[in-house]
Assembly symmetry: C2
Homo-oligomer: 266 residues x 2
Amino acid sequence: MSAFSIGSFGPLSLNPIAPDYGCITSTPKAGWENNDLLGHFSRLIDAPMALDTDVNCAAVGERLFGSGRGLDTFCYVTVGTGIGVGLLVDGAPHGGANHPEAGHIRLPRAAGDEVFPGICPFHGDCLEGLASGPAMRARWNMPGEHLPPDHPGWEIEADYLAGLCATLTYIVRPDRIIIGGGVMESPGMYGRVRRALTTKLAGYDASMRTLQMDDYIAAPTAGSSAGLTGALALAYRTATRQWPMHWSVRLPSFSNPTSLSGAALA
Amino acid sequence: MSAFSIGSFGPLSLNPIAPDYGCITSTPKAGWENNDLLGHFSRLIDAPMALDTDVNCAAVGERLFGSGRGLDTFCYVTVGTGIGVGLLVDGAPHGGANHPEAGHIRLPRAAGDEVFPGICPFHGDCLEGLASGPAMRARWNMPGEHLPPDHPGWEIEADYLAGLCATLTYIVRPDRIIIGGGVMESPGMYGRVRRALTTKLAGYDASMRTLQMDDYIAAPTAGSSAGLTGALALAYRTATRQWPMHWSVRLPSFSNPTSLSGAALA
């Protein structure tokens, strides 16, 4: 049995009955718009093909070897050049009519951030336009990693990420929200996001009052190969119709991970 | 085989391993906070018990007899004394760690609505605090049904509901969003919400560009007994482990539906 799968940045057309199934659709990334990603590999490789987003694949990787172990429903958020959200619902990557693009939700402006117009080419000040790595750089005229740890920019950033977590909490009710990406490496960011989220939830709903924030907002722990691991698991499922819950050996982490992962299983 | 089920307003504790499972938790409704709803009926009725939210039950009713027929993943929104959102994912009511409370998400303020503080006792200006029926009444000092059809309040209302639909679209990617409730009965509201949603999505993602808005944002059609039908279907599933997809006879609609429905199946 063999199968081939791809975990890619999006937006991707993931609806098998859509005419553009397997294509990258509207992306600002030069040269990738309308790229027939799956078609390209389908012509080269004679095997069943699977495709999902990089973030859904990473979520699967976290489910197998990281902070998603033992959880049925959780969110995987990565904050870097964009803001991506992967979703596992009842143990499977959530697709719906297409995959989530939760980075593009809109939130109220954080205190102290009333002027910056945002950089999303589609929406201006959607979440990704206000809180991705490039948005931080545009707002402060320097890369986020150059901002001192006590710079007010970090509280603004935490406010937006906590706003995303609150929205995911209200809509998805996940068991955990795993947040990673370069922006989260700033010292104290997890604490800032947890505190801002507690304030935003404002004690609503007993089940939210008892959320253990240190446990609920967690860092990814499956390493930089989580996406490739998840893509490989997707190939496994495509070949066998089961998730490889018995896998016990992690892939090594890569020092230079890419957001486009191909995985083949023979 | 027999089973008993309840569809109730929330927030409910729906996690079977939680100590307060089956209770209504933090509600501003007088006399209902911490009410052990399921426990009360469990002591009276000797049968397997099931419980879900009124909106998830109504979504199941719409799946069987209304605007959700043939759809696997859709949202059911009702805008009345509160804003409730039910979610069917892959054909089953979505629970997660608990049920969605998407009425409490926060959105940017609509143009022309910068001053009204909102009425949610927990969050002030969350969606429910700004756009429920009582919020409209508090903002304009009259019930929504007394506002003339060309009153600017309707555009503000449509902006918030379209903001909810955009957020649900980005996170859930449903096949359809069914919106009902008293506020939607105002002439032209569906058109207003569809237009505002098209503007908000701003052409992002080819699969969203091709959304047929008249089809995507739809009215409920299963009648006022949708919630009771769904609760009955939940009892059926509890007894048989299957949804009653073969049911062909609708319950009559009720002129005075309640948001608390009990259903027994013997």
